[in-house]
Amino acid sequence: MAHDGIVLEVDAVSKSFGALAALSKVSFAVRQGQVFSVIGPNGAGKSTLFNVISGLHVPTVGRVRFRGREIAGLAPEAINRLGIAKTFQITNIFPEISVFENVRVAAQSRARESGRLASLWRLPDVEPGTAELLRAFGLAAKRDELAESLSHGEQRYLEICLALATEPTLLLLDEPTAGMTPGETKEATALIRRIAAARGLTVLLIEHDMSVVMGISDRIAVLHFGEKIAEGAPEQIRNDPQVIEAYLGPPEA
């Protein structure tokens, strides 16, 4: 059922690891330009969902469509080339090369030479786009430092820069503010929102901290023990009794 404006469609996806059902029949659709958040307590299946969408896992049952095209089962690199980029919950960068080289290697993945014979002797010029990204995330002054020497917050930003440098149309953010202080978190969410709007990105965000998503999401889905228990606008989710129960535990008998 292709629908105009739907970028990503997760259709009755289940994923089991042995006897453990990490996801059962999860469905939702993300529209063009939306910031769509998936929330849930730890262990709700959020990261498994991302791994299915980004190609690390093949769903046991169900389909994932990106712009109408079936992508479940494609390799991560193929999915990235279609325009889906993912950031990682645990910072996943190239530690012993410079900040600039980190972003460069991501950006050149979209260069004309990439995957061609000419890439053996040519080095594409990705300087403008790379410098602009580093500026946007306040990393311009650190471009020649080794990535591992950055502070935690800066590494989280570099993580997002790597994903954005591959020029995605859909950005998957896995707890982008993990480990940040409340102040940093606020700043980061505002930045993400601004950059997503400026680049016309569709964003799918995973978060276990509800306060982060309320401010920036257009729509929210809630996972609990691998099942979607609610979906709606932030206001609806905030007041949903089932969601409150999942987060705070059942009301006292």
Partner: protein
């Protein structure tokens, strides 16, 4: 540096013996440099480079023995034989990582060694002996130590140029990314196995071409060239020279060859001495011999957090 190497034979003490020693130093330096593409840049440790070297040597020796004495034919033969073998090895080895990659390259190399050692087709344990010198063009034979020296010097120069261009290219940057974080590289849209396959092939072919030059100098190709200890020596050459520097492993290869020659001419238990020197280098010069130059030259020391 290149000028010094080019003028080396003019030095008064450069006898034929020393010219051949210099040939070995540069040849193994070139091979160590080729291996550095894998070890230093891509983070893959091959324990089977001796097979690429040995197959190159055999390809060339077999042709020379049969009267096909053109150097170019020998190089082409080595390219084909080593290329075919490397394609098979790389295909299986690059599907695995870390220790499995190392073990697969080792196992394949042992199979090749065993084949040449225990079948009589190519002379068994004696190998192929007494082959004629290859011809460059027409009647110009590479038949003196001096000519052999310049041949390997030219090969080193070309291989260095190729490797240098490669590591500064788009391709080279992706190799480093694979070394740093293979999983993340996939999520940036790179087909990692293709890159690993390509760099294995390039490294193997450069090593194989080096092997093809060997019978011209020694007039033989024996299974001992493919022993796993030879692969181990290649790895040591890269380590002592300095990983990921290209020039370092050239220095490391040359140093190893000269050290082995010098020490073994004095004592029988030269391996112990070499071992001690290597332990010293690894412990106290973690960036290898080339790292010392960087220190003296006042280059920015790598800042670690």
């Amino acid at each position: 540096m290149w000028l010094l190497l080019a003028l080396l034979p003019a030095l008064p003490f450069m006898s034929k013996f020393y010219l051949l020693l210099a040939f070995d130093a540069l040849l193994f330096g070139t091979i160590a440099m080729s291996l550095d593409l894998l070890m230093g840049y891509t983070g893959l440790v091959s324990f089977g480079h001796a097979a690429f070297f040995g197959l190159g040597a055999y390809a060339s020796a077999v042709l020379l023995e049969r009267g096909i004495v053109s150097l170019w034919a020998c190089l082409l033969g080595a390219l084909l034989v080593v290329g075919l073998y490397a394609l098979v090895v790389s295909f299986f080895a690059t599907a695995r990582r870390g220790i499995y990659f190392a073990l697969l390259t080792l196992i394949f190399a042992e199979v090749v060694y065993t084949f040449f050692r225990y079948t009589q087709t190519f002379g068994g344990s004696d190998g192929i002996q007494g082959v004629p010198s290859p011809r460059l063009i027409g009647d110009v034979a590479i038949d003196t130590p001096l000519r052999n020296y310049y041949l390997v010097l030219v090969y080193l120069g070309l291989a260095y140029l190729a490797c240098r261009v490669l590591v500064t290219s788009h391709f080279g940057r992706v190799l480093v990314a694979i070394r740093e974080n293979e999983d993340r590289t996939r999520f940036l849209g790179y087909d990692v196995q293709r890159y690993k396959l390509a760099v294995c092939m390039i490294s193997a072919l450069l090593t194989g071409l080096g092997g093809a030059l060997y019978p011209g100098r020694s007039a033989f190709a024996t299974p001992d060239l493919m022993l796993w200890t030879v692969s181990g020596e290649f790895i040591i050459m890269v380590m002592i020279g300095g990983l990921g520097t290209l020039a370092g492993p050239v220095v490391g290869g040359a140093f190893f060859v000269l050290l082995q020659e010098k020490v073994s001419s004095y004592v029988d238990w030269y391996f112990i001495v070499i071992g001690l020197v290597l332990i010293f280098i690894v412990l106290f010069m973690p960036r290898g011999l080339l790292g010392v130059r960087d220190l003296l030259g006042g280059r920015r020391w790598r800042t670690t957090a």
